[in-house]
Symmetry: C2
Subunit: 347 residues, 2 copies
């Protein structure tokens, strides 16, 4: 069923039908009702491509999700982020245009999307320091929101981020308060902004408490289970093993748990672990009785916020907006006072 047919069947012009459907005031309420009823009856769906061509609006948002070349890994948080964003999109009538692209092709992917004009806005995932995409998109004039922030960019832009630095500072302080002195940071890839910020928060906390951060205890890689396992295994084999771990991901935290179990140690007794928890739907830390003491911040909520900002900027462009979410700190069963704090310190 096309607009023209609908119009003919009603004895109206396409113009009037179009206006009736799109809520323009130039049609009487009587005919609008008639048109709407007919549209309903015939299950009329305007062809979005024709509409887009005529209006210049595609009613679609682009998401470019990076495929880490090293392990061809797609970050598991995307699914939840997009689920959150799409709640908003669905309500507002936007579609999602997905592009999966490996690191090298990334810039070109953005450039192409902008040139083809197939979306009204873009969400930028996983920013790095001095991220070139931000300048690129700004110059093109396509509205965009960054999930995260990028240092080294002068111009203002829209972003939604978690206060990673504060969260990790707080977690580290908590561990120090429990008497831990040798604390390992099992961080994400520190080419990523969020990982850099987490590291600075961690370092800040230690330094503020007079503890010299030990580079050997600060690891950085893609956050897989294996990475957590290997890291913990290696660190625990040291002569002076850490007594606590701060880990950037629940998945890697499971790896750490596996290594500690193998070593015959018990989390929350012999060893402490705090994990960052993105509150993924399939990897719940548990509400009432958290598995891990954790910094919780819903990536789905971040998706909702980012989508809201983006749509708002598309509809009425204005000065850049940002939204800084604070992570919740949940004390679970994976943390405990340091085993021999006094002895270790006074030795």
């Amino acid at each position: 069923m096309k607009l023209k047919e609908l119009a003919k069947s009603l004895g109206l012009s396409p113009t009037t039908v179009s206006r009736a459907i799109n809520g323009y005031p130039e049609v009487s309420e009587a005919t609008r009702a008639r048109v709407m009823a007919a549209a309903q009856r015939h299950d009329y769906q305007p062809n979005p491509r024709a509409k887009a061509l005529a209006t210049g609006q595609s009613m679609a948002i682009g998401h470019v999700i990076p495929l880490a070349t090293r392990h061809e890994m797609v970050n598991p948080v995307f699914a939840d982020f997009i689920a959150g964003a799409s709640e908003i999109y669905a309500r507002e009538g936007f579609d999602i245009h997905l592009t999966v692209v490996s690191d090298e092709g990334e810039e070109k992917a953005y450039r192409d999307i902008a040139a083809k004009g197939s979306v009204d806005g873009i969400i930028v995932h996983a920013p790095r320091a001095n991220d070139g995409r931000i300048a690129l998109l700004s110059s093109v004039g396509l509205p965009f929101v960054v999930h995260g922030r990028a240092t080294g960019i002068d111009a203002a832009y829209n972003w939604v981020d978690v206060n990673n630095r504060r969260a990790f500072r707080r977690a580290a302080e908590f561990l120090v308060d429990l008497g831990h002195r040798r604390i390992a940071l099992v961080n994400g890839l520190e080419t990523m902004e969020f990982a850099m910020r987490r590291r600075s928060g961690f370092v800040e906390a230690l330094t503020a408490r007079g503890i010299e951060p030990d580079p050997d205890l600060m690891l950085s890689d893609e956050m897989t289970e294996q990475y957590g396992y290997q890291s913990a295994k290696t660190l625990l084999a040291r002569a002076d093993p850490p007594t606590a771990f701060l880990c950037s991901s629940m998945i890697s935290a499971f790896g750490i748990r596996r290594a500690t179990d193998e070593a015959g140690l018990k989390l929350g007794r012999d060893l402490s672990l705090i994990a960052h928890d993105d509150d993924l739907s399939y990897l719940q830390n548990g509400a009432d009785d958290p598995i891990f003491t954790a910094l919780r911040s819903s990536v789905r909520e971040a998706g909702r916020r980012a989508a809201t900002i983006l749509i708002d900027q598309i509809r009425n462009p204005g000065p850049p907006v940002h939204d800084l979410l604070e992570a919740e700190f949940l004390v679970g069963r994976s943390t405990a006072p340091a085993p021999h704090p006094a002895r270790a310190l006074n030795a």
Copy 2:
């Protein structure tokens, strides 16, 4: 840069330029070269909406990913499936159109997509028995490929699936061969086809070996970590706990591991566990030294296959095609002979 401008700058008609770019034979190779060079130089990207409107082809594939209403959970395998599919899409010039929809809205979502004609084909995820979507899409005439199969559908259709039944039969047989008699099945939601098939394979194996499947040992739910944990905890607390677990997901397997650790049992010694491993990029079971004995089947590869079939069917429609993948069986460190097989049997 638009086609018309390009044409003018070359002193050619839009017709000729269009034909040159799209490889039609009516233009001389000389002018084609000239056009291509100019297109390159001006970074000309044809407007996909205009193209789609004119040709009726949108060069986009729809993915409708279901949001399980119960826990608002988005299945973690989608990210990898789509990563695999998009390798093919990118090569062939297709875009991905994503729709996230909760169970109730699903049928309408498909209907709308078909009516709006915004995609050339669809991938159907997570089929259920007698899945209505298959009849719907068939009647609409939109090419589609199902990731999985649905019993109760007479008509043939395109699908890509893992031989879940055989895989689970084999795993169960392996456990029985190790002397296990009380084996628990920690399965996915059995409204899903794949879970039903896994269960039948499991039941078949036990029955064939003269073991009566115990309904109390067969669980079914969404495959979260918590689910694995709770299931194992409950089952291990029984008077006659199982000596082995067969689990439908790596994530739930981690939960099972957590429960067994808590109970002071060691996997691969006191208790056996086989997990189904979708070979997710961020949840590797480990190639050389698998954490779990596992049935491995790459969901990313399934994505590639599905995309290939779909594009092929879009280009030259033909009789339905399917592709049945076999899961690899990997013996890892989580399985061992049953603790007291002889005694238990001869008692």
